[in-house]
């Protein structure tokens, strides 16, 4: 078994206009930089992107917005991106906002075969509008469906040819759930290692979830808010 592909361009060859794609990352941390660049080069349009945030104007998902490739975003917070704001105001892009924990759990449920679940999050708010509610032990809850996609773009730290993936520190975030919740999952990692080199106790995404894997190049890992203290 060998799930390695040569690069991001070949990994995304099957993506068509109108595709729904999950993209890991929180802010600019743990985003699939190589796959986003390849998708911009390919130019596929009318995409629905499921990602916690929308990048910044000139990096991450912002690059796809700039190129007018995105029709809809499913996110929890899109506030760092002026391009997004302009597209939304001109109604050139749709946005579906989810509470962040609900978004994470919908994706987890999608990967775990749970069709829908009741959560107390957002009861009595705009997030519950049009949704079924039910009381459990005196607590009002909202019914939300799972979330799946045709493709998922995952950014890992290390991986192997079986598609096993580990994540580094807070760069794991949404990647781990998204790796389970799409029909075709592509993982880019900083380093492909030989089979057996990853500690089996530390593999966060076992290979069964991954369809294609490659070693990414030229990671910029841009920092969104550089905060430091004095020595």
């Amino acid at each position: 078994m060998d799930k390695r592909v040569v690069n991001a361009d070949s990994a995304i060859a099957r993506i068509q206009d109108g595709a729904t794609i999950m993209m890991g990352g929180f802010g600019l941390c743990g985003i699939p930089e190589n796959l986003i660049d390849a998708l911009r080069r390919k130019g596929a349009k009318d995409l629905t992107i499921i990602s916690n945030n929308a990048g910044v104007d000139d990096f991450g998902i912002g690059l796809l917005l700039q190129n007018k490739q995105v029709r809809k975003m499913i996110s929890s917070y899109v506030g760092e991106n002026k391009m997004f704001e302009q597209l939304a105001l001109k109604k050139e892009i749709d946005v579906e906002l989810n509470p962040q924990g609900t978004l994470a759990e919908r994706i987890r449920a999608g990967g775990a075969g749970i069709r829908a679940f009741f959560t107390p999050t957002g009861y009595g708010t705009a997030a519950a509008e049009g949704k079924e509610t039910r009381e459990f032990d005196g607590r009002q809850c909202v019914l939300v469906p799972w979330l799946r996609a045709q493709f998922a773009f995952i950014k890992g730290w290390k991986g192997d040819r079986w598609g096993n993936v580990t994540y580094r520190k807070t760069a794991g975030n949404f990647n781990e759930m998204m790796a389970t919740a799409a029909d075709y999952v592509i993982a880019e990692v900083e380093e492909i290692v030989d089979l057996g080199k990853l500690d089996p106790n530390c593999i966060q995404t076992p290979g069964v979830f991954v369809d294609a894997i490659f070693q990414g190049a030229n990671y910029k890992k841009r920092i969104e808010r550089r905060t430091v203290r004095k020595r």
Binding site: G30, P99, T102, A171, I223, R226, T227, R231
Partner: protein, 216 residues
């Protein structure tokens, strides 16, 4: 109060007194991030960040920033001995599952039923609720830390929130530069007045009717 920074530090210092050794705490963006500066030495409080970090340390020294270690405000932070990392789903499991003792966040409006509005202003670009709705629904105790009124001097503590809600009946305590207010079944009880502040002062800056220990 002579400046906005001083006001915010007064609030942060008072909120710090609500945190005790062994607590797991999630801090919102802005004013709440000042709270750890005022913890007593020896008080070990574990900070959780909803992007998947338990045991958030200080900002890094210049030159030691790691792009893979950020908090929910997307700021570079550091890890501590004992820090752990989890996925976003597991992180919100901690929050929704009632494992986080306290969440401290800012507000646009709070009302006498403990309703909170802090994520959207009609007519302005919708940025999204992020993790706020999950935090107020899931944390054992919700503390609002904010300036008592808007920059224009308008009340933020209302009879009924007018802005879109973040949560219904979720707020437990409100800490402002004027005092400390607890959300009780009967309404808003003034627990403390800041030095030099009278009951009359705080009521004038508040839309909701405030209760005193005697009236509650």
């Amino acid at each position: 109060m002579s400046s906005e920074t001083e006001t915010r530090d007064v609030i942060a210092r008072r909120v710090a007194r609500e945190l005790h050794d062994g607590m797991y705490v999630n801090l919102g963006i802005g004013l709440p991030t000042r709270v750890p500066n005022y913890l007593d030495p020896g008080t070990e409080v574990i900070m959780q960040s909803e992007n998947g970090m338990l045991g958030v340390g200080q900002y890094p020294y210049e030159g030691e920033e790691d792009p893979d270690i950020i908090n929910a405000g997307k700021e570079t932070v550091t890890e501590l001995p004992g820090t752990s990392y989890v996925s976003s789903a597991a992180s919100f499991g901690m929050i929704r599952g009632g494992h986080i003792d306290v969440t401290i966040l800012g507000a646009l409006e709070v009302d006498e039923k403990g309703n909170l509005a802090n994520w959207a202003i009609p007519g302005k670009m919708l940025k999204g609720m992020g993790g706020a709705m999950d935090l107020v629904a899931g944390a054992k105790r919700v503390i609002v830390a904010m300036e008592h009124t808007t920059k224009e001097g308008k009340p933020k503590i209302m009879t009924r929130c007018r802005l879109p809600l973040t949560g219904v009946g979720v707020v437990n305590l409100i800490v402002t530069e004027l005092g400390v207010i607890e959300v009780m079944p009967k309404g808003l009880l003034v627990r403390e007045l800041s030095p030099g502040v009278t009951m009359d002062d705080i009521q004038k800056a508040t839309e909701a009717k405030l209760l005193t220990t005697a009236s509650a």
